[in-house]
């Protein structure tokens, strides 16, 4: 907590705001002490005087120095504003947490009441309460406080609902802890920060509202005076002495700004820290060498077979991290031939999704992509983007993403979203494009295609949406489909349908497939070849059929062993891999898997093994390991697997 607050003050905005707030509070405390009597000095000889050396802002209708009065008025103004905000926050907190404590029926009543009250603007409510409580400081405090309550109630409600949906609140309820105790112990501490920030901004707004009410004559009444009252008096004489209105106006403004800016910079500061910025990432070339020099592949460059659809050499992806550039993909090389299905397997942090996005040039804005070679159907994808290239990619490269629920634009019909591809890239007119969309939807086995084409995405089920995604990719004539975890979010029966569909498409048109997944068994079943990724590198490139028994990298073998299937030996404990996947921001030197590997030795920790075919082994099977194929030691007994944080 300390560190974050310190970071807030360090930004120029935060520093300015903090200084302003401190100054305002100091003024409120000290001014009446220093200048209180001076501000009340009546001088009938200098009524309504212009600004002068003696009275910097002139004098009012009783000859009193306006500047001094403005300074002294700070205490009342700040005090009233704070009082009002306290009322607003407390009332808002009570009303906003009530639904959580009261249960469904009464809670909904309170929530409905709050929602109705929120619709009315604060000033209106303040006027309403001002009528009820009467003009004057007390009435105004109550008015502004209660007028601000619905806003805070609504905020609290939303925050409480967000926390109440978390599983730890549900867990507390199943433990038998009462709702009120859950509110106090779990909910309120977790909504504290946004509430405090909003309260700070609210204090600023309360100050301004007070000024407004007093300006209308409804707030503080003579002989007390706050900034609003001084404004009210000053406006009356604005033609005679403008400073009489501008001075209190400026004071209100500065104080309100102080609170608002402070609240805003705290809000920003307590959020996720922004990285060093893309400009810094783009400017610096990747410093240290990315690893072992690529050898042996240059000979292949000359006699590269012509049916290579995708050719990737030494792909690297660099993103901005909280403390410097991070490289989640550190040198990936592979190719995909016509009609071939290549699977990329890895866990979180392996870089598999970024690899897919990088090779399809969908990362341009967010990260820097470097590669020795990146070619699709012979076209250099590293060259700058052109309309010709866009058309080529739009019609020959299809993408399928993980979450079908969010992959489509919710405000446009499915048919229109499919037809867009044809109208932009294939020169079709609207009717022709729509007809093709219907045809494509039918080809991915969506029933009732000509009716479905006019529906919105939310009317499709998850599996259907994924098939529609595939259909969208088929609007052109794709040579390659890149599917990033296409079935992870789907039920297993639906998953089977989607995978069958992909297989049928491949068979019909010799379409290549790159399938990214964390599920080794899916990849093993669907793909011809598998690339296993760990910590941004490919650690093994092997035929899918060899996954079960022929893997040679310890990670691949551990991964395969760790997945239970229908033939797993029930008598033994499941294999696990000790430790955690590598954090891309913190990649160790040498082999990244060494910390978790039972075969690791000093050479592994110092030198990163290259991805290469083993001498005497099949050229189609590459491993990046100094101990490839060596027998693994017996698994440790369960008792030894006590983990620390």
């Amino acid at each position: 907590m300390q560190g974050r607050w310190r970071r807030v003050v360090r930004t120029p905005l935060g520093l300015t705001a903090t200084v302003l707030v401190v100054a305002v509070v100091a003024l409120a405390v000290l001014a009446p002490v220093l200048w209180g009597s001076g501000a009340d000095d009546v001088d009938t000889d200098a009524i309504l005087a212009q600004p002068s050396a003696e009275h910097w802002a002139g004098t009012d209708n009783l000859g009193r120095d306006i500047l001094l009065r403005v300074l002294v008025a700070s205490r009342l103004s700040i005090l009233l504003a704070l009082l009002a905000i306290v009322i607003a926050v407390v009332a808002g907190l009570l009303l906003g947490s009530a639904p959580f404590v009261l249960g469904r029926r009464f809670g909904r009543l309170v929530a409905a009441g709050v929602n109705t009250a929120v619709a009315f603007p604060g000033l209106l409510l303040a006027l309403f309460f001002a009528v009820v409580f009467g003009v004057g400081a007390t009435g105004a405090v109550l008015a502004i406080g209660l007028a601000g309550a619905p806003g805070f109630a609504r905020l609290t409600q939303t925050l409480v609902a967000g926390v109440a949906a978390r599983d730890y609140v549900a867990a507390a309820r199943t433990m038998g802890i009462g709702r009120f105790r859950i509110l106090v112990r779990h909910v309120l501490p977790n909504i504290g920060e946004p509430l405090v920030v909003n309260a700070t901004i609210g204090a600023g707004n309360a100050l301004l509202s007070f000024a407004g009410l007093s300006f209308l004559g409804l707030g503080v009444q003579s002989p007390s005076y706050d900034w609003g009252r001084l404004l009210y008096d000053g406006i009356g004489t604005i033609y005679v002495n403008a400073a009489a209105a501008l001075a209190p106006g400026a004071a209100v403004l500065l104080a309100g700004l102080a609170f608002n800016l402070f609240g805003e910079s705290v809000a920003k500061g307590l959020g996720v820290p922004v990285g060093i910025g893309m400009r810094a990432v783009m400017a610096t070339r990747a410093g240290s060498p990315s690893g072992p020099e690529p050898t042996g592949h240059d000979e292949e460059a000359e006699d590269r077979p012509s049916d290579v659809v995708l050719d990737v050499r030494d792909l690297e992806v660099t993103v901005a991290g909280p403390s410097g550039p991070v490289r989640p993909v550190r040198g990936v090389s592979f190719d995909v031939r016509r009609g071939e299905a290549v699977g990329i397997v890895g866990e979180s942090g392996s870089g598999k999704s970024l690899t897919a996005l990088a090779v399809t040039r969908l990362l341009a804005d967010h990260a820097r992509v470097d590669a020795a070679r990146l070619e699709f159907l012979g076209n250099d994808l590293l060259a700058p983007d052109t309309p010709v290239r866009r058309r080529m990619l739009g019609t020959t490269l299809a993408m399928v993403f993980q979450d079908p629920m969010t992959a489509f634009n919710p405000t446009r019909r499915i048919g229109a979203q499919l037809a867009e591809v044809a109208t932009h890239h294939q020169g079709m007119g609207r009717r022709e494009a729509l007809a093709r969309a219907v045809d494509r939807l039918a080809s991915v086995r969506i029933p009732d295609a000509d009716a479905r084409v006019r529906q919105y995405p939310h009317e499709f089920s998850g599996g259907m949406r994924q098939r529609a995604m595939i259909g969208m990719g088929l609007m052109g004539t794709p040579a390659l489909i890149v599917a990033d975890e296409p079935t992870t979010a789907l039920d297993v029966t639906v998953q089977q349908q989607v995978l069958d569909l992909l297989a049928a498409i491949r068979a019909a048109d010799d379409v290549a497939l790159v399938l990214i997944s964390h599920d080794v068994t899916v990849v093993g079943e669907v793909c011809d070849r598998t690339l296993v990724m760990y910590a941004g590198r490919i650690v093994e490139d092997l035929p899918a059929a060899a996954l079960a028994t022929g893997a040679r990298h310890p990670y691949t073998r551990a991964l395969v062993d760790a997945v239970p299937d229908m033939t797993t030996d029930l008598a033994k404990p499941l294999a696990t891999i000790p430790g955690r996947p590598v954090d891309p921001a913190d990649v160790p030197s040498g082999c990244a898997y060494a910390d978790r590997c039972p075969l690791a030795d000093d050479r592994c920790r110092a030198e990163d093994p290259p991805l290469a075919a083993e001498p005497g082994g099949s050229p189609r099977h590459r491993v990046a390991c100094w101990h490839a194929g060596e027998p693994l030691p017996a698994r440790p007994a369960l008792d030894e697997l006590v983990e620390s944080p």
Partner: protein, 327 residues
């Protein structure tokens, strides 16, 4: 208009009908609360409202007669029903000070306030949305950090300055020092310039900021990635895909801002001596002319409710999912 293809067998189950019914129900409940609150307002005031309006020196029998004439001696529920009946027939009572019918006062002053609020809203939106969209594209993830800082700071500062202060400053600069524009009354078209500006600039800053944030968020959405994967030209992605989704979210806040604009007229009217409801209500509160206050509060409240209704309908039109969302 989005029609589901399989039209439900029972017409009253159609999404638009259900939406309409729900919205109407909410409107009626809110209306009833508003009406009851404005009625209760008078009766919550400590002391005798008639005495307060006529002053402490008024003779007792005059106060009694006025009380009786206003029906203030009847039991509360009877007064309530009289009040409701009066609303339905358009009788809003009479001003305690001038004896004139309140409905007349309201009818006379409403157009000035309405024209001011509507113009300010249009100006606000016309300024805020393009600015927010363009800045959103410029400050999408990883880009334009300095632009973002400048934009956010400027909009916070502008939004913090209360509209009446802006009004006062403008009165001083343009009215007194430069004398270019009128600063009181609504006689000419030019008289609209300063009040509309004072009213619109703050909400415009807030709205632009929200549109920018929404735009940046939408540009990160999965469906924008899909549009990029389809290799659509940038303009199609920003305007055809991102913008509609950013606007729907901004619309909800825009509705709140419109309500706030309606309230802002109260302050601005007082600065510019604008002959609208805002200056009237303040005067009436100070002179304790409660029937007038009550009626104007009602008018403002109804205005807010109607604005919210319009916003909800616009949202339902723009986002096909919103009308099936139950509250």
């Amino acid at each position: 208009m989005a029609m589901t293809l399989t039209a439900p067998a029972r017409p009253w189950a159609h999404p638009w009908v259900r939406f309409g019914v729900r919205r109407l129900r909410r409107l009626l409940v809110s209306l009833w609360i508003l009406v009851t609150a404005s009625f209760a307002m008078i009766h919550l005031i400590p002391g005798d409202p008639v005495r307060g309006a006529l002053g402490t020196t008024a003779p007792a029998d005059l106060v009694e007669a006025r009380r009786h004439a206003l029906g203030l001696d009847d039991p509360i529920l009877v007064q309530y029903f009289h009040y409701l009946k009066g609303l339905v027939t358009g009788d809003l009572g009479s001003s305690l000070a001038s004896q004139l019918p309140v409905s007349g006062v309201v009818a006379q002053r409403l157009p000035a306030t309405l024209s001011l609020a509507v113009l300010a809203f249009l100006a606000s939106v016309a300024l805020a949305i393009p600015l927010g969209v363009v800045t959103g594209v410029l400050t999408r993830r990883g880009h334009g950090r300095r632009t973002e800082l400048a934009f956010t700071t400027t909009s916070i500062i502008i939004a913090t300055i209360p509209d009446f202060l802006i009004g006062v400053a403008l009165v001083y600069v343009f009215g007194i020092e430069l004398g270019w524009l009128p600063v009181a009354g609504d006689d000419t078209a030019a008289s609209y310039v300063l009040p509309v500006f004072s009213l619109a600039i703050g909400p415009a800053a807030i709205l632009a900021r929200i549109v920018r944030v929404e735009m940046v968020g939408v540009l990160e959405a999965d469906f924008v990635r899909t549009a990029r994967a389809k290799r659509l030209p940038a303009r199609t992605i920003y305007v055809g895909h991102a913008l509609p989704n950013a606007v729907t979210a901004a619309l909800t806040v825009g509705g709140l801002l419109l309500s706030a604009l309606v309230a802002g007229t109260v302050l601005v009217e007082n600065v510019f001596a604008w002959p609208g409801l805002g200056s009237t209500i303040v005067r009436s509160i100070l002179t304790k002319d409660y029937p007038v206050v009550q009626a104007i509060v009602l008018v403002y409240g109804v205005g807010v409710l109607i604005t919210n209704l319009v916003v909800d309908v616009a949202l339902a039109l723009l986002d096909p999912r919103s009308k099936i969302r139950e509250d």
